[in-house]
Amino acid sequence: MSEGRTALAMNPYRPSLGTLVGIRDLATDIRLFQVALDDRQEGKGGFQTHPAYRPGQFAFVSAFGVGEAPFCLTSTTRRGQALEFAVNKIGTVTEALHRLGEGDVVGVRGPFGNWFPLEDMRGQDVILLGGGIGGAPLRPVIHTILDNRADYGKLTILWAARLPSLLIFKGEFDSWRAAPGTELHLTVDQGDETWKGNVGLITQLLEKVAPSPENAMTITCGPPVMIKFVMLTLAKLGFAPEQMIMTLEAKMKCGMGKCGRCNLGEKYVCTDGPVFSYAKVRNFLESY
């Protein structure tokens, strides 16, 4: 063991401390939390800043006094120092996080899990399908492609929510649309008086947009039922299972394959995933 490090400093259950440096509303009950890690925590387990985290990975965020829960990292290291998490107020930990304000301290440990195969996707068209809060893990993919625009082909983003008020990252839509070779298609299950765009499921939008499967990869994130039907629609459009990437959500307590919570058969969403190809998932014993 190297000097200055004790066994306890290596404790993977110990979170790094971080300060909430920015909080903004993304949609009804969904907020973006920006966390600046406390430098003094460096090397004490918790959030490992080296090597850099990648799009698709996740971390546990603690609301001290209530507990911690896993969230995807919705930021990229290139665009800023702060770690960003989009949090939907829907359970005990997320409710506690929503009660916090700027300047409050949270815990972070991670990053955990695998990541999207963005290196392998270079030179190909990319189709992203995000439903509701499921758009959160896709945002760092969009940022990565836009920040390395020449490395990728056409970018088609299909962005869906149950209601217009639940569409996340609205403030970034214009910059996505303005990027070269990039299309953004929105849809909602149910419109309102101000909504003039598509109404319908993301699968209907997908059939309408009908992206070509040639030299293309897709990434889907959303509720399980959405993923299921998007896979069927993609297959109908001629995409092979290897071209369908998804990221799955599961209840987790440790992030290291130990607590047992997130197994899909012999796979663990935390360590074997959360990113999987449909080619693999369709052969899993258990459904997600």
Binding site: N11, R14, F64, G65, G67, E68, P224, G260, L264, E286
Partner: protein
């Protein structure tokens, strides 16, 4: 080590009791102790509290490595933010009277908590600070099926010291250096002979190999079996290898918060349910199936060993007679 080679080292019964008293004075001694009508591994101060004549304890010894509830972190609210402290774990402990199945169960948990990186620091600390003194079974118990899982009731390889009851005392096998150190200067008498072999029930339960399980995944068998399951979770709590856990915080004072880790059970309805309500394993049939698949199909693939040691506690404790042996036999007959 482990073989007797025609000679045995004997610790007389009085000698054992005196040694245990000595150990209890120097460290935390845990041994099988009668508690009401049950026999449980409990900390003891005197050898007189220890049961030497028992088949197996009602609960395994896993709580001394993965406690039912433990504080993994203590947080304190400061003027600005929080401070985080890690607990100092208990000191050296000696676990006496461990049955071979329970000792093997620790090896099974080692595969997950120690060998799969990163190691679990709490489990590792307790495991490292514990010396195991095994006690061979004289006879397999009513629900025991350890021999079907490649174990023997006198298996010595998973402990530091192994004792086997003989006329007037115990045959001692020193298995590890840790065991040798614990034994210290206790003078053992060397005599000719071998200790008696345990009485073994010959019928073997068929254990389907891990690769054969997936073909039975969709069998209606699971729904039929789970009809009577109460989702009471007893099977997972008494199991020496079930290790699922939950982590949450508790406010313990104005400024103090403890992060607790507690046993959890895949038999609970909400175990896999995520915020928002989606539950990938909503039925009893799926949950009961998962428990058996975890033990005999998933765990061996992920971590190596089968996560069952044939102790039979789940059979003894299940209030509605879900019987692991019956399930294994039923599956082999499908």
């Amino acid at each position: 080590m482990g073989d007797f080679a025609g000679k045995i080292k004997v610790m007389a019964r009085d000698q054992l009791l005196a040694w245990l008293d000595d150990l209890a004075g120097r460290s935390t001694l845990i041994g099988p102790k009668p508690v009401g009508e049950k026999i449980l591994y409990k900390p003891v101060r005197h050898s007189a509290e220890i049961a030497l004549d028992f088949t197996k304890t009602d609960l395994s010894a896993k709580e001394y490595f993965l406690p039912p509830t433990e504080t993994i972190l203590s947080m304190k609210r400061e003027k600005k933010g929080f401070s985080v402290e890690e607990p100092s774990l208990d000191g050296e402990q000696v676990l006496f009277g461990l049955r071979p199945c329970d000792a093997r169960a620790l090896r099974v948990m080692d595969a997950l908590f120690l060998d799969k990186e990163p190691a679990d620091p709490y489990y590792a600390e307790r495991r490292g600070k514990t010396t195991l003194i095994g006690l061979a079974c004289r006879e397999m118990g009513e629900q025991c099926f350890c021999t079907s899982l490649g174990l023997a009731p006198d298996e010595a390889n998973d402990v530091d010291l192994m004792l086997t009851e003989i006329e007037g005392g115990y045959a001692v096998q020193v298995v590890t250096d840790k065991g040798k150190a614990l034994l210290g200067a206790v003078a053992l008498q060397e005599v000719e002979g071998v200790p008696p072999k345990p009485i073994v029930h010959q019928e073997k339960v068929p254990i389907l190999e891990a690769g054969k399980w997936p073909e039975h995944f969709d069998a209606p068998y699971w729904a039929r079996l789970s009809d009577r399951c109460l989702s009471c979770r007893l099977c997972t709590y008494v199991c020496p290898t079930c290790r699922c856990f939950d982590i949450r915080d508790a406010e313990v004072s104005d400024k103090g918060i403890e992060r607790l880790r507690a046993w959890d059970s895949c038999m609970a309805e909400g175990y896999r349910r995520i915020a928002g309500g989606h539950n990938p394993r909503p039925t009893k049939a799926e949950r009961l199936r998962n428990r058996f698949y975890c033990k005999f199909c998933y765990y061996p693939q992920d971590f190596g060993p089968i996560a069952c040691v044939g102790c039979g506690r789940c059979i003894a404790q299940c209030p509605v007679n879900v019987d692991a042996v019956e399930v294994l036999e039923g599956l082999a007959a499908l």
